[in-house]
């Protein structure tokens, strides 16, 4: 078991956003969390990565409690979080952004190797590596954000709506890429509104509704579920 979340409670300024959420991720899996707008998906990811402190519950990663760690130590422990809204460093170049992604990786050699790999996956970034990241288009920035998350060579990569604002052709490519990254050995926790594609991709999925997990199962299973189809797939 790579990640275990038990009875997690969290929220903002005393207002709870998720209630007693429990789920787990095994090594090598792709797990998807789906749910409507404001359900609390991003909040779960933020709590795991240490951006917000949980108000209750436990998070165990790789056999170690991480729920009280600050964000920068969570990264060091092996979790990368590609947040909603990208958060790239707009004033720095693409390459600087990427290198900062590998901040916890102290070996220069390893870093260059990872960078090479990233440039293979995202040739657009290689081409634009000297561009100031803030002037790139929305989609380009999203690529950069994912690539930067990968730079730390995480054991668990958490992606918050990576397809947001991405052109259709790339959406498929990005999801394809996620599968590829997963096949190279990185466990994935994905939050996605593009429910079809995400469920197709997922080994397992959780459905979140107003801060509570209301259903779970294998991706394809859920896609068949009548309630889910109605609530999320618009069918």
């Amino acid at each position: 078991m790579l990640l275990q979340v038990k009875d997690l409670k969290s929220g903002y300024k005393g207002v709870p956003a998720i209630h007693d959420v429990s789920f787990e991720i095994k090594k090598g899996e792709i797990v998807v969390i789906v749910g409507g707008n404001g359900a609390g998906k991003s909040t779960i990811l933020r709590t795991i990565s240490g951006l917000i402190r949980p108000t209750g519950g436990e998070i165990v990663f790789d056999g170690r409690r991480i729920d009280q760690l600050p964000a920068h130590e969570v990264v060091a422990a092996g979790i990368a979080h590609v947040p909603e809204g990208r958060w790239i460093f707009g004033r720095m170049t693409v390459q600087q952004n990427l290198i900062l992604g590998a901040y916890t990786q102290k070996s220069e050699e390893e870093r260059l190797k990872t960078l090479e790999m990233i440039y293979r996956i995202f040739p657009r970034l290689k081409e634009r590596r000297e561009q100031v990241a803030g002037t790139m288009s929305g989609g380009e920035q999203q690529m950069l954000a994912i690539a930067r998350g990968l730079m730390s060579r995480p054991k668990l990569l958490m992606l918050d709506e990576p397809s947001l604002g991405i052109m259709p052709k790339l959406v498929m490519e990005i999801l394809e890429m996620i599968r590829e990254i997963n096949q190279r050995g990185t466990t994935i926790l994905l939050v996605e509104q593009n429910v079809h594609a995400a469920l197709k991709l997922a080994d397992r999925a959780y459905v979140l509704q107003t801060g509570r997990i209301v259903a779970e199962g294998a991706g394809r299973e859920l896609m068949e579920d009548e309630r889910i189809r109605k609530a999320y797939l618009g069918m």
């Binding site: 929305g138 989609g139 947001l164 259709p168 052709k169 498929m172 509104q193 999320y232």
Partner: protein, 243 residues
Amino acid sequence: MALLEIQKLTKRFGGLVANREISMQIDEGEIVGLIGPNGAGKSTFFAMVAGFYQPDGGRIFFNGEDITGRSPEYICRKGITRTFQIVKPFEDMTVLENVMVGAFLRTASPTRARKEAEEVLEFTGLANKLDWEAKGLTIADKKRLELARALATKPKLLLLDEVMAGLTPTETLEAVELIRQIHKRGIALFIVEHVMEVVMPISHRVVVLDGGEKIAEGTPEEVAKDPRVIKSYLGEMDHVASG
């Protein structure tokens, strides 16, 4: 006469030509989609139409008036309101107050502005978050707020830059319905959106940009079949079909 007429609009950033001699028009009551790969220049184009960027060439006419290079607020008063791809809510103000700011464009009376804002919020489904501070909204709600605020200015033409992104398919359907309702009020719409489930069913016409140039224009069906569009933008369409 076209509501919006654009002639050979050009914008450069240093060496990069973000928009090259783009011409197009929008008629009264029309819904036009603007699609194209990331970085194609869509937001740039919007920014020029709304007066946020000065074009390096070309002209923009609205209702027959040359509005090229006019200030954003002038253009807004004339009837074009934009939303921002990267949302810009008034964070310290409540949802209601945000929308009232929009409504104040057409009335100076706080009571009227409030009534109108409430109506718009009801219409856009934010009515239950009236007194939330805008900074506490999720991104999707912030986008909805952008839309509500823009609507409150009573525009003739609404420029929507990816306000539908980040919705579940069910929510997307609701959003499409919302856009239809807006259209019914006689407002022309110019929409940038990567979610084909939104663009294709509602657009009367679709314009496609790539690398700063207009590469195609036509009905959604025509565009969807255009090989250039498929190659550079849509890719394999299977996931679209599944919507």
